[in-house]
Protein backbone atom coordinates (compact mmCIF):
# COMPACT_ATOMS: atom_id res chain seq x y z
CA UNK A 1 0.00 0.00 0.00
CA UNK A 2 1.20 3.51 -0.83
CA UNK A 3 0.03 6.07 1.63
CA UNK A 4 0.64 9.74 2.15
CA UNK A 5 -0.03 11.16 5.57
CA UNK A 6 -0.59 14.85 6.20
CA UNK A 7 1.56 15.76 3.25
CA UNK A 8 2.21 19.42 2.51
CA UNK A 9 4.34 20.81 -0.26
CA UNK A 10 5.09 24.15 -1.85
CA UNK A 11 7.07 25.22 -4.85
CA UNK A 12 9.46 27.99 -4.01
CA UNK A 13 8.68 30.06 -7.04
CA UNK A 14 5.15 28.97 -7.73
CA UNK A 15 1.86 29.43 -5.96
CA UNK A 16 0.58 25.90 -6.35
CA UNK A 17 0.69 24.11 -3.04
CA UNK A 18 -0.46 20.94 -1.38
CA UNK A 19 -1.98 21.26 2.06
CA UNK A 20 -2.10 18.44 4.59
CA UNK A 21 -3.27 15.64 2.31
CA UNK A 22 -3.73 12.04 3.39
CA UNK A 23 -4.50 9.43 0.76
CA UNK A 24 -4.13 5.68 0.29
CA UNK A 25 -3.37 3.73 -2.84
CA UNK A 26 -4.12 0.06 -2.28
CA UNK A 27 -3.36 -2.94 -4.46
CA UNK A 28 -6.40 -4.08 -6.40
CA UNK A 29 -8.20 -0.76 -6.09
CA UNK A 30 -8.87 1.96 -8.60
CA UNK A 31 -8.72 5.49 -7.27
CA UNK A 32 -9.73 8.47 -9.34
CA UNK A 33 -8.31 11.92 -8.61
CA UNK A 34 -10.43 14.79 -9.81
CA UNK A 35 -10.02 18.54 -9.67
CA UNK A 36 -9.78 21.78 -11.57
CA UNK A 37 -6.65 22.75 -13.43
CA UNK A 38 -4.08 23.89 -10.87
CA UNK A 39 -5.80 22.03 -8.04
CA UNK A 40 -2.55 20.18 -7.29
CA UNK A 41 -3.32 16.76 -8.78
CA UNK A 42 -0.02 16.39 -10.64
CA UNK A 43 1.98 17.63 -7.67
CA UNK A 44 0.29 15.12 -5.39
CA UNK A 45 1.08 12.33 -7.87
CA UNK A 46 4.71 13.39 -8.04
CA UNK A 47 4.85 13.34 -4.26
CA UNK A 48 3.41 9.83 -4.20
CA UNK A 49 5.92 8.67 -6.79
CA UNK A 50 8.91 10.42 -5.19
CA UNK A 51 9.63 12.88 -7.98
CA UNK A 52 9.13 15.49 -5.30
CA UNK A 53 9.73 15.14 -1.58
CA UNK A 54 7.13 16.58 0.84
CA UNK A 55 7.89 19.59 3.00
CA UNK A 56 6.01 17.93 5.84
CA UNK A 57 4.15 14.68 6.36
CA UNK A 58 5.24 11.31 5.05
CA UNK A 59 4.85 9.15 1.98
CA UNK A 60 5.08 5.44 2.71
CA UNK A 61 5.14 2.31 0.65
CA UNK A 62 4.38 -0.91 2.49
CA UNK A 63 5.35 0.77 5.75
CA UNK A 64 8.68 2.19 4.52
CA UNK A 65 8.89 5.96 4.62
CA UNK A 66 10.05 7.58 1.40
CA UNK A 67 13.35 9.42 1.71
CA UNK A 68 16.10 10.52 -0.60
CA UNK A 69 17.96 7.27 0.17
CA UNK A 70 15.01 5.00 -0.52
CA UNK A 71 13.87 6.42 -3.86
CA UNK A 72 14.75 3.35 -5.91
CA UNK A 73 13.19 0.99 -3.39
CA UNK A 74 10.07 3.14 -3.24
CA UNK A 75 9.70 3.19 -7.01
CA UNK A 76 10.27 -0.50 -7.59
CA UNK A 77 6.94 -2.00 -8.62
CA UNK A 78 5.56 1.51 -9.19
CA UNK A 79 5.08 3.18 -12.55
CA UNK A 80 4.25 6.80 -13.24
CA UNK A 81 2.61 7.81 -16.51
CA UNK A 82 3.05 11.54 -16.95
CA UNK A 83 3.36 14.02 -19.77
CA UNK A 84 6.71 15.06 -18.30
CA UNK A 85 8.27 11.64 -18.79
CA UNK A 86 10.55 11.64 -21.80
CA UNK A 87 12.22 8.96 -23.86
CA UNK A 88 15.40 9.22 -25.83
CA UNK A 89 14.53 11.59 -28.68
CA UNK A 90 17.02 10.20 -31.17
CA UNK A 91 16.57 6.48 -30.85
CA UNK A 92 13.74 4.45 -32.37
CA UNK A 93 11.01 3.59 -29.87
CA UNK A 94 11.56 -0.14 -30.09
CA UNK A 95 15.30 0.19 -29.54
CA UNK A 96 14.91 2.54 -26.61
CA UNK A 97 12.17 0.48 -24.98
CA UNK A 98 14.67 -2.37 -24.78
CA UNK A 99 17.14 -0.10 -22.95
CA UNK A 100 14.57 1.33 -20.56
CA UNK A 101 13.19 -2.14 -19.93
CA UNK A 102 16.46 -3.01 -18.19
CA UNK A 103 15.17 -1.01 -15.24
CA UNK A 104 12.07 -3.21 -14.95
CA UNK A 105 12.57 -6.90 -14.14
CA UNK A 106 9.01 -7.94 -15.00
CA UNK A 107 8.88 -6.20 -18.36
CA UNK A 108 7.40 -8.14 -21.27
CA UNK A 109 8.15 -6.95 -24.78
CA UNK A 110 5.31 -9.02 -26.25
CA UNK A 111 2.91 -7.33 -23.93
CA UNK A 112 4.26 -3.90 -24.81
CA UNK A 113 3.60 -4.57 -28.48
CA UNK A 114 0.20 -6.03 -27.71
CA UNK A 115 -0.71 -2.94 -25.69
CA UNK A 116 0.40 -0.69 -28.53
CA UNK A 117 -1.80 -2.66 -30.92
CA UNK A 118 -4.78 -2.30 -28.61
CA UNK A 119 -4.17 1.42 -28.38
CA UNK A 120 -4.08 1.58 -32.15
CA UNK A 121 -0.49 2.80 -32.21
CA UNK A 122 0.65 -0.09 -34.37
CA UNK A 123 -1.42 -2.41 -36.45
CA UNK A 124 -1.12 -5.97 -37.68
CA UNK A 125 1.02 -8.74 -36.34
CA UNK A 126 4.29 -7.34 -37.62
CA UNK A 127 6.15 -5.59 -34.81
CA UNK A 128 8.36 -3.71 -37.23
CA UNK A 129 5.74 -1.21 -38.27
CA UNK A 130 6.65 2.32 -39.17
CA UNK A 131 5.54 3.81 -35.86
CA UNK A 132 8.00 1.67 -33.94
CA UNK A 133 10.82 3.03 -36.04
CA UNK A 134 9.89 6.56 -35.09
CA UNK A 135 11.72 8.48 -32.42
CA UNK A 136 10.02 9.97 -29.38
CA UNK A 137 10.45 13.50 -30.71
CA UNK A 138 8.46 12.58 -33.81
CA UNK A 139 5.39 11.61 -31.81
CA UNK A 140 2.41 13.76 -30.98
CA UNK A 141 1.42 14.31 -27.36
CA UNK A 142 -1.32 11.68 -27.54
CA UNK A 143 1.02 9.14 -29.15
CA UNK A 144 3.60 9.70 -26.44
CA UNK A 145 1.06 8.99 -23.76
CA UNK A 146 0.05 5.81 -25.57
CA UNK A 147 3.65 4.62 -25.72
CA UNK A 148 4.43 5.42 -22.10
CA UNK A 149 1.21 3.86 -20.84
CA UNK A 150 1.70 0.73 -22.96
CA UNK A 151 5.23 0.44 -21.67
CA UNK A 152 4.16 1.00 -18.09
CA UNK A 153 1.53 -1.72 -18.27
CA UNK A 154 4.13 -4.07 -19.78
CA UNK A 155 6.38 -3.61 -16.74
CA UNK A 156 3.72 -5.32 -14.59
CA UNK A 157 3.77 -2.77 -11.79
CA UNK A 158 2.06 -3.33 -8.47
CA UNK A 159 0.92 0.26 -8.55
CA UNK A 160 0.40 2.64 -11.40
CA UNK A 161 -0.04 6.38 -11.21
CA UNK A 162 -1.43 7.97 -14.36
CA UNK A 163 -1.60 11.71 -14.84
CA UNK A 164 -4.26 12.66 -17.41
CA UNK A 165 -3.74 9.57 -19.55
CA UNK A 166 -6.87 10.19 -21.60
CA UNK A 167 -5.94 13.67 -22.76
CA UNK A 168 -5.71 14.01 -26.56
CA UNK A 169 -6.88 10.45 -27.20
CA UNK A 170 -9.78 9.68 -29.46
CA UNK A 171 -12.92 8.20 -27.79
CA UNK A 172 -12.35 4.61 -28.91
CA UNK A 173 -8.78 4.57 -27.68
CA UNK A 174 -9.85 6.18 -24.40
CA UNK A 175 -12.34 3.42 -23.78
CA UNK A 176 -9.82 0.75 -24.67
CA UNK A 177 -7.19 2.25 -22.38
CA UNK A 178 -9.67 2.49 -19.51
CA UNK A 179 -10.65 -1.13 -20.10
CA UNK A 180 -7.02 -2.28 -20.19
CA UNK A 181 -6.27 -0.55 -16.90
CA UNK A 182 -9.39 -1.89 -15.26
CA UNK A 183 -8.55 -5.40 -16.39
CA UNK A 184 -5.16 -5.15 -14.73
CA UNK A 185 -6.74 -3.92 -11.53
CA UNK A 186 -9.30 -6.70 -11.53
CA UNK A 187 -7.07 -9.59 -12.70
CA UNK A 188 -3.61 -8.74 -11.38
CA UNK A 189 -4.60 -6.70 -8.36
CA UNK A 190 -2.73 -3.62 -9.55
CA UNK A 191 -3.36 -0.46 -7.54
CA UNK A 192 -4.20 2.53 -9.72
CA UNK A 193 -4.37 6.25 -9.12
CA UNK A 194 -5.59 8.16 -12.11
CA UNK A 195 -6.17 11.86 -12.55
CA UNK A 196 -8.73 12.96 -15.05
CA UNK A 197 -11.34 15.53 -15.84
CA UNK A 198 -13.45 12.96 -17.62
CA UNK A 199 -15.14 11.26 -14.72
CA UNK A 200 -17.62 9.53 -17.01
CA UNK A 201 -14.84 7.46 -18.54
CA UNK A 202 -13.88 5.88 -15.25
CA UNK A 203 -16.85 6.49 -12.99
CA UNK A 204 -18.06 2.92 -13.28
CA UNK A 205 -14.58 1.53 -12.65
CA UNK A 206 -13.32 3.67 -9.76
CA UNK A 207 -13.45 2.20 -6.29
CA UNK A 208 -12.51 5.47 -4.66
CA UNK A 209 -12.78 9.03 -5.77
CA UNK A 210 -10.68 11.88 -4.42
CA UNK A 211 -11.53 15.47 -5.21
CA UNK A 212 -8.93 18.20 -4.96
CA UNK A 213 -9.45 21.91 -4.88
CA UNK A 214 -6.79 24.59 -4.41
CA UNK A 215 -4.25 22.14 -3.10
CA UNK A 216 -6.58 20.50 -0.59
CA UNK A 217 -8.38 17.19 -0.63
CA UNK A 218 -11.97 18.32 -0.29
CA UNK A 219 -13.53 14.91 -0.60
CA UNK A 220 -12.17 11.39 -0.52
CA UNK A 221 -14.13 8.24 -0.24
CA UNK A 222 -16.11 5.47 -1.78
CA UNK A 223 -17.33 6.11 -5.31
CA UNK A 224 -21.01 5.64 -4.50
CA UNK A 225 -20.78 8.05 -1.63
CA UNK A 226 -19.05 10.67 -3.71
CA UNK A 227 -21.31 10.29 -6.69
CA UNK A 228 -24.43 10.62 -4.58
CA UNK A 229 -23.24 13.94 -3.24
CA UNK A 230 -25.11 16.57 -5.25
CA UNK A 231 -22.77 19.43 -4.35
CA UNK A 232 -19.81 17.42 -5.38
CA UNK A 233 -21.35 16.49 -8.68
CA UNK A 234 -21.66 20.21 -9.34
CA UNK A 235 -17.96 20.64 -8.59
CA UNK A 236 -17.12 17.83 -10.97
CA UNK A 237 -19.35 19.18 -13.68
CA UNK A 238 -17.69 22.59 -13.37
CA UNK A 239 -14.33 20.91 -13.54
CA UNK A 240 -15.30 19.15 -16.74
CA UNK A 241 -16.72 22.32 -18.25
CA UNK A 242 -13.50 24.17 -17.44
CA UNK A 243 -11.57 21.49 -19.26
Amino acid sequence: MIECRNVSFSYKKKNRQIYDISLKLEEGYFTCLIGHNGAGKTTLMKLLYGSLLPDSGTVEKDGSVLSIDSLCEHRSGLFFVTKEAVWHPDRPLMSYSKTLAKLYPKYSEEEFLENLRKLDFISGKDAGTKNLDKTFSELSYGERMKVITAFGLATHPEYMILDEPFANLDPLVKSELARMIHTRVAKDGMGVLISTHLLDEVSDMADYVAVMEKGRLVKYGDREEIMSNTDLRTVLRESRETE
Partner: protein
Protein backbone atom coordinates in the same frame (compact mmCIF):
# COMPACT_ATOMS: atom_id res chain seq x y z
CA UNK B 1 23.94 -2.86 -6.00
CA UNK B 2 20.69 -2.60 -7.92
CA UNK B 3 20.67 -5.25 -10.66
CA UNK B 4 18.23 -3.37 -12.90
CA UNK B 5 20.25 -0.16 -12.84
CA UNK B 6 23.38 -2.15 -13.58
CA UNK B 7 21.70 -3.70 -16.61
CA UNK B 8 20.60 -0.24 -17.72
CA UNK B 9 24.17 1.04 -17.30
CA UNK B 10 25.59 -1.80 -19.42
CA UNK B 11 23.02 -1.10 -22.09
CA UNK B 12 23.74 2.62 -22.02
CA UNK B 13 27.47 2.06 -22.28
CA UNK B 14 26.89 0.44 -25.64
CA UNK B 15 25.28 3.67 -26.78
CA UNK B 16 28.19 5.78 -25.62
CA UNK B 17 30.95 4.05 -27.50
CA UNK B 18 32.71 7.29 -28.27
CA UNK B 19 33.90 7.18 -24.68
CA UNK B 20 36.40 4.62 -25.87
CA UNK B 21 38.11 7.29 -27.94
CA UNK B 22 38.08 9.66 -25.03
CA UNK B 23 39.70 6.92 -22.95
CA UNK B 24 42.33 6.30 -25.62
CA UNK B 25 43.06 9.99 -25.76
CA UNK B 26 43.52 10.09 -22.02
CA UNK B 27 45.79 7.06 -22.05
CA UNK B 28 47.89 8.59 -24.81
CA UNK B 29 48.16 11.83 -22.84
CA UNK B 30 49.17 9.93 -19.73
CA UNK B 31 51.76 7.89 -21.61
CA UNK B 32 53.20 11.08 -23.05
CA UNK B 33 53.48 12.38 -19.51
CA UNK B 34 55.32 9.24 -18.42
CA UNK B 35 57.77 9.56 -21.30
CA UNK B 36 58.20 13.23 -20.55
CA UNK B 37 58.85 12.67 -16.86
CA UNK B 38 61.35 9.89 -17.52
CA UNK B 39 63.20 11.69 -20.30
CA UNK B 40 63.18 15.17 -18.80
CA UNK B 41 62.61 14.91 -15.08
CA UNK B 42 63.43 18.55 -14.53
CA UNK B 43 60.94 19.73 -17.10
CA UNK B 44 58.10 17.32 -16.53
CA UNK B 45 54.83 18.43 -18.01
CA UNK B 46 52.82 17.83 -14.91
CA UNK B 47 50.04 19.98 -16.24
CA UNK B 48 49.20 17.27 -18.75
CA UNK B 49 48.18 15.12 -15.84
CA UNK B 50 46.11 17.95 -14.46
CA UNK B 51 44.40 18.10 -17.82
CA UNK B 52 43.85 14.35 -17.70
CA UNK B 53 42.38 14.56 -14.22
CA UNK B 54 40.01 17.23 -15.42
CA UNK B 55 39.16 15.22 -18.50
CA UNK B 56 38.28 12.17 -16.48
CA UNK B 57 36.32 14.20 -13.99
CA UNK B 58 34.48 16.41 -16.43
CA UNK B 59 34.04 14.23 -19.45
CA UNK B 60 32.44 11.23 -17.80
CA UNK B 61 29.66 12.95 -15.90
CA UNK B 62 28.99 15.04 -18.94
CA UNK B 63 28.71 12.02 -21.20
CA UNK B 64 26.49 10.07 -18.84
CA UNK B 65 24.55 12.75 -17.06
CA UNK B 66 24.22 15.81 -19.17
CA UNK B 67 24.53 14.85 -22.78
CA UNK B 68 22.43 11.76 -22.49
CA UNK B 69 19.39 13.35 -24.02
CA UNK B 70 18.36 16.26 -26.08
CA UNK B 71 15.51 18.37 -24.78
CA UNK B 72 13.30 17.75 -27.74
CA UNK B 73 10.13 19.31 -26.52
CA UNK B 74 8.44 21.41 -23.98
CA UNK B 75 5.68 18.93 -23.32
CA UNK B 76 3.20 21.49 -22.08
CA UNK B 77 3.77 24.11 -24.75
CA UNK B 78 4.49 21.56 -27.46
CA UNK B 79 7.49 23.57 -28.61
CA UNK B 80 10.21 21.56 -30.27
CA UNK B 81 13.78 22.66 -30.13
CA UNK B 82 16.21 20.15 -31.50
CA UNK B 83 19.31 21.91 -30.25
CA UNK B 84 18.62 21.68 -26.55
CA UNK B 85 19.88 18.86 -24.40
CA UNK B 86 18.35 17.33 -21.34
CA UNK B 87 20.20 15.26 -18.83
CA UNK B 88 19.75 11.75 -17.57
CA UNK B 89 18.05 12.94 -14.41
CA UNK B 90 14.96 13.57 -16.52
CA UNK B 91 14.83 9.83 -17.14
CA UNK B 92 15.68 9.00 -13.56
CA UNK B 93 12.91 11.27 -12.25
CA UNK B 94 10.19 9.09 -13.67
CA UNK B 95 11.69 5.63 -13.53
CA UNK B 96 12.94 3.20 -10.94
CA UNK B 97 16.61 4.18 -10.89
CA UNK B 98 19.32 3.56 -8.31
CA UNK B 99 21.62 6.57 -8.20
CA UNK B 100 24.23 4.91 -5.94
CA UNK B 101 24.61 1.96 -8.31
CA UNK B 102 24.83 4.16 -11.37
CA UNK B 103 27.46 6.47 -9.90
CA UNK B 104 29.52 3.61 -8.54
CA UNK B 105 29.54 1.92 -11.95
CA UNK B 106 30.43 5.19 -13.60
CA UNK B 107 33.35 5.73 -11.23
CA UNK B 108 34.45 2.12 -11.47
CA UNK B 109 34.54 2.38 -15.24
CA UNK B 110 37.29 4.97 -15.02
CA UNK B 111 38.92 3.81 -11.82
CA UNK B 112 41.89 2.09 -13.45
CA UNK B 113 42.63 5.16 -15.57
CA UNK B 114 42.24 7.39 -12.55
CA UNK B 115 44.58 5.26 -10.44
CA UNK B 116 47.07 5.10 -13.28
CA UNK B 117 47.06 8.90 -13.47
CA UNK B 118 47.62 9.17 -9.74
CA UNK B 119 50.42 6.56 -9.85
CA UNK B 120 52.18 8.44 -12.63
CA UNK B 121 51.94 11.61 -10.60
CA UNK B 122 53.35 9.90 -7.53
CA UNK B 123 56.23 8.67 -9.66
CA UNK B 124 56.71 12.20 -11.00
CA UNK B 125 56.74 13.52 -7.46
CA UNK B 126 59.56 11.16 -6.48
CA UNK B 127 61.54 12.17 -9.53
CA UNK B 128 61.05 15.89 -9.13
CA UNK B 129 59.30 17.07 -6.03
CA UNK B 130 58.65 20.65 -7.02
CA UNK B 131 55.48 22.62 -6.50
CA UNK B 132 54.18 21.67 -9.95
CA UNK B 133 54.46 17.95 -9.28
CA UNK B 134 52.69 18.35 -5.95
CA UNK B 135 49.93 20.44 -7.51
CA UNK B 136 49.63 17.98 -10.36
CA UNK B 137 49.29 15.02 -8.00
CA UNK B 138 46.74 16.82 -5.88
CA UNK B 139 44.73 17.88 -8.91
CA UNK B 140 44.69 14.49 -10.60
CA UNK B 141 43.79 12.74 -7.34
CA UNK B 142 41.21 15.13 -5.99
CA UNK B 143 39.53 16.78 -8.96
CA UNK B 144 37.83 13.70 -10.43
CA UNK B 145 36.49 12.72 -7.02
CA UNK B 146 35.23 16.23 -6.37
CA UNK B 147 33.55 16.38 -9.77
CA UNK B 148 31.96 12.97 -9.22
CA UNK B 149 30.77 13.96 -5.75
CA UNK B 150 29.29 17.21 -6.98
CA UNK B 151 27.74 15.45 -9.96
CA UNK B 152 26.03 12.92 -7.73
CA UNK B 153 24.75 15.53 -5.30
CA UNK B 154 23.39 17.55 -8.20
CA UNK B 155 21.82 14.46 -9.75
CA UNK B 156 20.04 13.46 -6.54
CA UNK B 157 18.79 16.97 -6.05
CA UNK B 158 17.48 17.12 -9.58
CA UNK B 159 15.47 13.91 -9.44
CA UNK B 160 13.59 15.13 -6.39
CA UNK B 161 13.03 18.72 -7.41
CA UNK B 162 10.89 20.33 -10.03
CA UNK B 163 13.52 22.50 -11.68
CA UNK B 164 16.84 20.78 -12.33
CA UNK B 165 19.82 23.06 -12.02
CA UNK B 166 22.45 20.90 -13.71
CA UNK B 167 21.04 21.39 -17.14
CA UNK B 168 21.53 25.12 -17.36
CA UNK B 169 24.77 25.02 -15.42
CA UNK B 170 26.31 22.45 -17.71
CA UNK B 171 25.07 24.36 -20.73
CA UNK B 172 26.72 27.52 -19.48
CA UNK B 173 29.94 25.70 -18.63
CA UNK B 174 30.09 23.96 -21.98
CA UNK B 175 29.37 27.16 -23.81
CA UNK B 176 32.07 28.98 -21.83
CA UNK B 177 34.54 26.15 -22.45
CA UNK B 178 33.84 26.16 -26.17
CA UNK B 179 34.16 29.92 -26.43
CA UNK B 180 37.37 29.87 -24.42
CA UNK B 181 38.82 27.07 -26.53
CA UNK B 182 37.82 28.78 -29.77
CA UNK B 183 39.41 32.05 -28.66
CA UNK B 184 42.51 30.28 -27.38
CA UNK B 185 42.99 28.37 -30.60
CA UNK B 186 42.35 31.51 -32.64
CA UNK B 187 44.91 33.39 -30.55
CA UNK B 188 47.55 30.69 -30.91
CA UNK B 189 47.07 30.38 -34.64
CA UNK B 190 47.12 34.14 -35.06
CA UNK B 191 50.31 34.51 -33.06
CA UNK B 192 52.04 31.85 -35.10
CA UNK B 193 50.85 33.26 -38.38
CA UNK B 194 52.10 36.70 -37.32
CA UNK B 195 55.48 35.34 -36.24
CA UNK B 196 55.99 33.37 -39.43
CA UNK B 197 54.51 36.12 -41.60
CA UNK B 198 56.64 38.81 -40.03
CA UNK B 199 59.79 36.74 -40.39
CA UNK B 200 59.08 35.91 -44.03
CA UNK B 201 58.37 39.53 -44.88
CA UNK B 202 61.45 40.79 -43.09
CA UNK B 203 63.74 38.12 -44.55
CA UNK B 204 62.45 38.23 -48.08
CA UNK B 205 61.83 41.95 -48.49
CA UNK B 206 64.17 43.73 -46.13
CA UNK B 207 66.91 41.17 -46.63
CA UNK B 208 67.47 40.26 -43.05
CA UNK B 209 65.43 38.47 -40.47
CA UNK B 210 65.11 35.26 -38.66
CA UNK B 211 62.77 32.86 -40.37
CA UNK B 212 64.60 29.82 -39.09
CA UNK B 213 64.22 31.04 -35.57
CA UNK B 214 60.57 31.82 -36.11
CA UNK B 215 60.07 28.30 -37.39
CA UNK B 216 61.84 26.97 -34.37
CA UNK B 217 59.54 28.96 -32.11
CA UNK B 218 56.50 27.63 -33.86
CA UNK B 219 57.59 24.04 -34.07
CA UNK B 220 59.45 23.59 -30.85
CA UNK B 221 59.03 26.16 -28.15
CA UNK B 222 55.27 26.21 -28.33
CA UNK B 223 55.05 22.48 -28.32
CA UNK B 224 53.04 22.53 -25.13
CA UNK B 225 50.59 24.97 -26.62
CA UNK B 226 50.08 22.78 -29.66
CA UNK B 227 49.54 19.78 -27.44
CA UNK B 228 47.00 21.66 -25.37
CA UNK B 229 45.23 22.85 -28.52
CA UNK B 230 45.05 19.32 -29.83
CA UNK B 231 43.64 17.90 -26.61
CA UNK B 232 41.07 20.70 -26.28
CA UNK B 233 39.92 20.39 -29.88
CA UNK B 234 39.44 16.63 -29.74
CA UNK B 235 37.74 16.79 -26.37
CA UNK B 236 35.30 19.37 -27.66
CA UNK B 237 34.61 17.23 -30.69
CA UNK B 238 33.90 14.30 -28.39
CA UNK B 239 31.70 16.30 -26.10
CA UNK B 240 29.46 17.47 -28.88
CA UNK B 241 26.79 14.94 -29.62
CA UNK B 242 25.15 16.99 -32.30
CA UNK B 243 26.96 19.01 -34.92
CA UNK B 244 26.95 22.53 -33.58
CA UNK B 245 27.56 25.14 -36.22
CA UNK B 246 29.61 28.28 -36.11
CA UNK B 247 27.88 30.18 -38.84
CA UNK B 248 28.12 27.82 -41.77
CA UNK B 249 31.11 25.96 -40.42
CA UNK B 250 30.36 22.60 -38.79
CA UNK B 251 32.04 22.87 -35.41
CA UNK B 252 32.72 19.22 -34.73
CA UNK B 253 34.62 18.31 -37.94
CA UNK B 254 36.51 21.58 -37.61
CA UNK B 255 37.55 20.71 -34.08
CA UNK B 256 38.67 17.24 -35.14
CA UNK B 257 40.74 18.63 -38.02
CA UNK B 258 42.32 21.31 -35.85
CA UNK B 259 42.95 18.82 -33.06
CA UNK B 260 44.62 16.30 -35.34
CA UNK B 261 46.69 19.04 -37.01
CA UNK B 262 47.79 20.37 -33.64
CA UNK B 263 48.79 16.96 -32.37
CA UNK B 264 50.60 16.30 -35.64
CA UNK B 265 52.60 19.45 -35.04
CA UNK B 266 53.61 18.12 -31.65
CA UNK B 267 54.75 14.80 -33.04
CA UNK B 268 56.46 16.34 -36.05
CA UNK B 269 58.17 18.98 -33.96
CA UNK B 270 59.36 16.42 -31.46
CA UNK B 271 60.66 14.11 -34.14
CA UNK B 272 61.93 16.56 -36.69
CA UNK B 273 62.83 19.81 -35.00
CA UNK B 274 65.44 19.90 -32.30
CA UNK B 275 68.98 21.02 -31.68
CA UNK B 276 71.53 18.74 -30.13
CA UNK B 277 74.61 20.20 -28.50
CA UNK B 278 77.84 18.37 -27.83
CA UNK B 279 81.31 19.58 -26.97
CA UNK B 280 82.14 20.48 -30.57
CA UNK B 281 79.05 22.29 -31.68
CA UNK B 282 75.35 22.12 -32.36
CA UNK B 283 73.39 19.92 -34.77
CA UNK B 284 70.23 21.61 -36.03
CA UNK B 285 67.62 19.15 -37.23
CA UNK B 286 64.34 20.24 -38.67
CA UNK B 287 62.04 18.35 -41.01
CA UNK B 288 64.70 16.00 -42.23
CA UNK B 289 67.34 18.68 -42.86
CA UNK B 290 70.30 18.20 -40.55
CA UNK B 291 73.05 20.81 -40.33
CA UNK B 292 76.06 20.65 -38.03
CA UNK B 293 77.64 23.85 -36.78
CA UNK B 294 80.90 24.07 -34.91
CA UNK B 295 81.33 26.53 -32.05
CA UNK B 296 84.50 27.63 -33.87
CA UNK B 297 82.20 28.96 -36.58
CA UNK B 298 80.31 31.36 -34.30
CA UNK B 299 80.58 34.88 -35.69
CA UNK B 300 78.44 36.72 -33.23
CA UNK B 301 76.24 36.10 -30.23
CA UNK B 302 73.71 37.81 -28.00
CA UNK B 303 73.14 36.89 -24.36
CA UNK B 304 69.63 37.57 -23.18
CA UNK B 305 67.12 36.73 -20.51
CA UNK B 306 64.39 34.19 -21.14
CA UNK B 307 61.95 32.96 -18.52
CA UNK B 308 64.23 34.31 -15.77
CA UNK B 309 67.28 32.46 -17.08
CA UNK B 310 70.16 33.33 -19.35
CA UNK B 311 70.10 32.19 -22.94
CA UNK B 312 72.48 32.70 -25.82
CA UNK B 313 71.68 33.24 -29.45
CA UNK B 314 74.66 32.36 -31.64
CA UNK B 315 75.06 33.45 -35.26
CA UNK B 316 77.09 31.11 -37.42
CA UNK B 317 79.11 31.73 -40.61
CA UNK B 318 76.17 31.13 -42.96
CA UNK B 319 73.98 33.58 -41.06
CA UNK B 320 72.07 30.87 -39.23
CA UNK B 321 71.04 31.90 -35.74
CA UNK B 322 70.42 29.31 -33.07
CA UNK B 323 69.20 29.70 -29.53
CA UNK B 324 71.44 27.30 -27.70
CA UNK B 325 69.98 26.90 -24.24
CA UNK B 326 66.70 25.43 -25.51
CA UNK B 327 68.57 22.52 -27.07
CA UNK B 328 69.08 18.93 -26.03
CA UNK B 329 72.46 18.64 -24.35
CA UNK B 330 74.92 15.80 -24.67
CA UNK B 331 74.78 13.15 -21.96
CA UNK B 332 78.27 11.70 -22.38
CA UNK B 333 80.59 11.26 -19.41
CA UNK B 334 83.17 13.70 -20.79
CA UNK B 335 80.41 16.32 -21.09
CA UNK B 336 79.32 15.74 -17.53
CA UNK B 337 82.87 16.05 -16.29
CA UNK B 338 83.40 19.29 -18.17
CA UNK B 339 80.08 20.99 -17.46
CA UNK B 340 78.30 20.70 -14.15
CA UNK B 341 75.14 22.29 -15.59
CA UNK B 342 73.85 24.41 -18.46
CA UNK B 343 75.13 27.63 -16.90
CA UNK B 344 78.64 26.18 -16.78
CA UNK B 345 78.39 25.39 -20.48
CA UNK B 346 77.27 28.95 -21.18
CA UNK B 347 80.16 30.56 -19.32
CA UNK B 348 82.78 28.24 -20.83
CA UNK B 349 81.41 28.82 -24.33
CA UNK B 350 81.33 32.61 -23.96
CA UNK B 351 84.83 32.69 -22.48
CA UNK B 352 86.12 30.59 -25.37
CA UNK B 353 84.45 32.89 -27.87
CA UNK B 354 85.94 35.95 -26.15
CA UNK B 355 89.38 34.32 -26.32
CA UNK B 356 88.84 33.98 -30.06
CA UNK B 357 87.95 37.65 -30.30
CA UNK B 358 84.20 37.23 -30.67
CA UNK B 359 82.90 39.68 -28.12
CA UNK B 360 79.17 39.42 -28.69
CA UNK B 361 76.50 41.52 -27.01
CA UNK B 362 74.14 41.58 -24.10
CA UNK B 363 70.48 42.20 -24.78
CA UNK B 364 70.13 44.33 -21.65
CA UNK B 365 71.80 45.30 -18.39
CA UNK B 366 70.13 42.49 -16.47
CA UNK B 367 71.62 39.87 -18.80
CA UNK B 368 75.05 41.46 -18.51
CA UNK B 369 74.95 41.58 -14.71
CA UNK B 370 73.60 38.08 -14.43
CA UNK B 371 76.27 36.70 -16.72
CA UNK B 372 79.09 38.49 -14.90
CA UNK B 373 77.78 37.06 -11.63
CA UNK B 374 77.77 33.62 -13.16
CA UNK B 375 81.23 34.07 -14.59
CA UNK B 376 82.88 35.00 -11.29
Amino acid sequence: MNAETKRFWIEEKKNNRRDIFAGVLLVVALLMSVVEIISEPTESRGWILVTCGLCIGVLVPYRYLVKYLRDDADSEAGVFDKNRYIPLYQIARFNSFDVDTYFWLMLKNYLSLYLFGVAVNVFGLFRDSDIYSIASLAASAILPIVVFGLGKALFVRNITHENGIGKNLSGILLSALMNFAALFILFVFTVFVVIIGYSVVVERIAGYGNLANAQMIVYTWFNNVWLMCGVICILLALLLNRPKKLGRIPFRPLMIVLGVLSLMFVVIADIYCNNTIDEEGVVVKCFGVETAYSFDDVKDYVIFEEDGELNIKATFGDGKTVKLMGSTFSTTDSWSEKYSDKDAFLTVLVNNLRERGVEGNFADEWAKTAFEELNK
